[in-house]
Amino acid sequence: MDQVITLPQPVAAARMKLVCPAGTPPALKVAVDNGADDVYLGFRDETNARNFAGLNFDDKAIRESLAYAHRKGAQVLVALNTYPQPATWRKWQAAVDRAADLGVDAIIVADAGLLAYAAKTHPQLRLHLSVQGSATSHEAINFYHERFGIRRAVLPRVLSVEQAEKVVARTPVEIEVFGFGSLSIMVEGRCALSSYATGESPNTHGGCSPAKAVRWQQSPRGLESRLGGVLIDRFGEQDHPGYPTLCRGRFVVNGDTYYPFEEPTSLNTLELLPRLQAMGVKAIKIEGRQRSPVYVETVTRVWRAALEECARDPQRFRVKPAWQEALAGISEGRQCTLGAYHRPWK
């Protein structure tokens, strides 16, 4: 885990960027040390979609992290990827000003009004469209490009590889896709399940299935996990109890108890890398600002190595068992899926 690899020189122009999560300064440091091109982080408030206690960066931490990343040739992106709320929406504008003043390399934004503000007020500030913006076609992405000059868009985890390829071919905007991490079942930015049960959702409060709404309870029928009082799952002694994220629960439909939305599993697209590279995807995103520095270190190291091999010789690219093993150790539910990239998943 402590191994720091020496980075080879950038190879082909097609080499994809590796975009890694940082919930804390130590996570940012290991991401940079292990070969992240971009690291994304958030302020300590509801302006970002991982608004969890103990996570995120104050101004001092951002300044130090920026200096560290820039010294090592990495860029820092600030996620302002929640929807500005009615009474306090100017707080999000202030967050854009703050990011610009700090000199960050780009901001990642979901809300169209906030993008308009950023484009007008800080024309030099690089804008990325967040996955929470739910832009699932080249026409939607080009809307944001034409109106606000966005330079990169993160694709929601809903398109098949064939569909993603068509998007890339028909937009001047750089396309970033999710490579690894927690798998969103619903279209990002289009899910209110969490607020239905708890009053807080990614769109409104920057978090899904908030920890304060979680209750664990031993019952005669097993260990029960509840979210906002709603029974999400029940575990026997053979089970591995997982965090009660609403769409990973076991529920009952017509008498069948199963995972109606998705099993606990992680997205892992390592095997798609040559295809993603060939179609012109510019960046691969790793999910997990809420995860530990050990997670960030492992996933960054594996993906850096894979991206280098893919850039060097895409024809002969093979996923190494050691990579998969390392990633399996940090995956949710220890299972991996290609998600929507593989059409039958839908």
Binding site: Q163, G199, F261
Partner: protein, 309 residues
Amino acid sequence: MKLALGPLLYYWPRDTVIAFYREAAGWPVDTVYLGETVCSRRRELKLADWLAIGEALAAAGKEVVLSTYELIESDADLRAMHSVVDNGAFRVEANDMAAVRALADKGPFVAGPFLNVYNAGTLSLLAGLGATRWVAPVELSRDGLAAVVADAPAGIETEIFAYGRLPLAVSARCFTARYNNLTKDHCEFRCIEHPDGLALDTQDGGHFLVLNGTQTQSASVQSLVTVLAGAKAAGAGLLRISPQSRATGEVVAVFRDAASGALAPAEAAVRLAPHLPAAACDGYWHGKPGLVSEWDGIRELVTESEATP
């Protein structure tokens, strides 16, 4: 306040749909939203059929609006969206930014509930592109709505989701197909077997959600019939009623009388109760979890001990 019949969110047989709107022509609604918004595989009706229904409703004095898909994935989805946008007869409700792009600067359109308008900045942007009405996201509370409206551009109409199972989430995956161990591409169109969606319960028997293909809805029925005075004060000008398989006309009638003041809130609740297919909820409106019911005398969604966090 005006009444609007929202787009039909379920997959009903063609004849059922046609009969439904024939009846709706006689209901006291001002506006009717038409078209398939949930899944591009649902093709009981073609655009020409929707246009014909629209013409009949317009002849009956209704404002007709055509709604676009809530999720666009394929080229075929984009083409279908453009056909709706270019229909040449009726105003269009945009439910994603590709549709907004297609509608921008070409005349008035409706900013649909899936555009995530949570603040006046975004609303002003959409108004500048031609939106003359917006439908608030279901999560927005009364206070949130009032705050957006307070800073909203002059003249824009505000619509709220006043009645029906809440469309909570959109996915690329079809959960009705998954329940049937089918993939979406080979779904056998099973949604047609569930005219009000497929009920999903918790393991302790709570009625929690409803699967409607790629859309997930609340099991409880949001009903704002008891808070219409507050809705008006907050700036709502239109009340959206979401079609259900039975008694939609009766629901419309209760809302008409409640909105006009002919029915007091408590009376309206009593009149509405027999037409509710499930428990009522109105938590979002009160700034609480959506499943909460503040409505006196209405059953909680789940057992009492579980209803509040």
